[in-house]
């Protein structure tokens, strides 16, 4: 059975058309990526796919009023943070002479009403993003992207911690 975290990453990669070598590396079935400019660009494009997928999921949850009242402010903030992560990585790609892909179509959240099920979906988005960045960060070659990835992943950790607290799940 596919975990929500893996399903999120698979969906992001397929929908965004990101590098399958990066996907296999994330899944643990591929070889280590060579530290090169090409790898950095593949990681940037993959991360962009993840950010666009996260933005789409949050956008869907907010547009359909699926986030429980009192927590909507967090969802708005986190969607904005993912947009910031996207913009940072689009800019890094631009500085390398690469035009970033635009947002892709994101599958709607399955839940039809606000509740813990939706929050668990959003938690899985953050957990997937955090685990992907942590798996990839050691493969990043250039210092500028490494530094930005560091600041991005601590953001994902913050989001994940807040959703876990809201759901009464352990942090450690």
């Amino acid at each position: 059975m596919t975990s929500p975290r893996r399903a999120f990453i698979r969906s992001a990669f397929i929908n965004a058309g990101a590098s399958m070598a990066v996907f296999r590396f994330l899944e643990g079935s591929g070889e280590a990526l060579p530290r090169s400019e090409e790898t950095d660009i593949a990681i940037l494009n993959a991360a962009l796919g993840l950010e666009n997928e996260a933005i789409g999921r949050y956008g869907d949850a907010l547009a359909r009023d699926l986030v429980p009242s009192g927590l909507r402010e967090y969802a708005v903030e986190f969607k904005g943070a993912h947009e910031g992560h996207r913009d940072t990585q689009v800019e890094i790609l631009r500085e390398r002479g690469v035009t970033a892909a635009g947002p892709h179509n994101v599958d709607p959240i399955r839940e039809a009403s606000a509740g813990d099920g939706v929050l668990r979906r959003l938690l899985s988005v953050e957990a997937a993003a955090e685990s992907a960045y942590l798996r990839l960060i050691g493969q990043i070659r250039t210092n500028d992207y490494l530094l930005s990835a560091g600041f991005i992943v601590v953001d994902e950790a913050r989001h994940q911690t807040i959703w876990r607290r809201v759901l009464g799940l352990s942090i450690y």
């Binding site: 992560h85 050691g138 530094l147 600041f151 991005i152 992943v153 601590v154 950790a157 942090i171």
Partner: protein, 164 residues
């Protein structure tokens, strides 16, 4: 634009991202970033900042009985991180670190101060990653940076609850 200038801009942009999140989360930080010249300097700074966090946690434990379990868990996490940094020093053939262990009398039990100390440690982790140039070390330290981010968020939520 020079490579150095380009990197500096990205540093500031990354710091701005984190700072924006902290503004929303109730914290504050000036948008500046530090370059570490050597791996040893970075590890020494991480040790120093982690020592400050430990001292503040001890003060919080002494002033809030209800915080005992949380403080114990946090201190345990920081102890594991220190052991990892010692492993990293050995891997990189660097001398062992000196535990700064500041006296807890030097700091207060203010939760906002603890949050700032954890924030400083988290940022130092992020800013130090480029100096290591070793995939394994970067991955190890990134995992610990994320753990510190989670500790910081827990304290942030605690501060928010007390202020509400």
């Amino acid at each position: 634009m020079t490579a150095q200038r380009s990197r500096r801009d990205l540093v500031l942009r990354g710091a701005a991202l984190a700072a924006a999140a902290l503004v929303l989360g109730g914290g504050s930080r000036s948008v500046e970033a530090k370059d570490y010249a050597t791996r040893r300097e970075a590890l020494d700074e991480l040790d120093r900042l982690a020592g400050s966090c430990r001292a503040r946690l001890e003060r919080v434990r002494g002033s809030r009985a209800a915080a005992e379990e949380l403080v114990s868990r946090f201190l345990s996490v920081l102890r594991r991180h220190r052991a990892t940094r010692e492993d990293v020093r050995r891997r990189l053939a660097l001398p062992a670190g000196v535990d700064p262990a500041p006296a807890s009398g030097d700091v207060d039990a203010d939760l906002g101060g603890l949050r700032q100390s954890l924030d400083d440690l988290m940022v130092a982790y992020a800013e130090s990653l480029p100096v290591f140039g070793d995939s394994h070390v970067v991955s190890l330290l990134a995992v610990e940076m994320v753990a510190v981010s989670k500790l910081r968020t827990v304290i942030d939520l605690w501060v928010a609850r007390e202020e509400a």
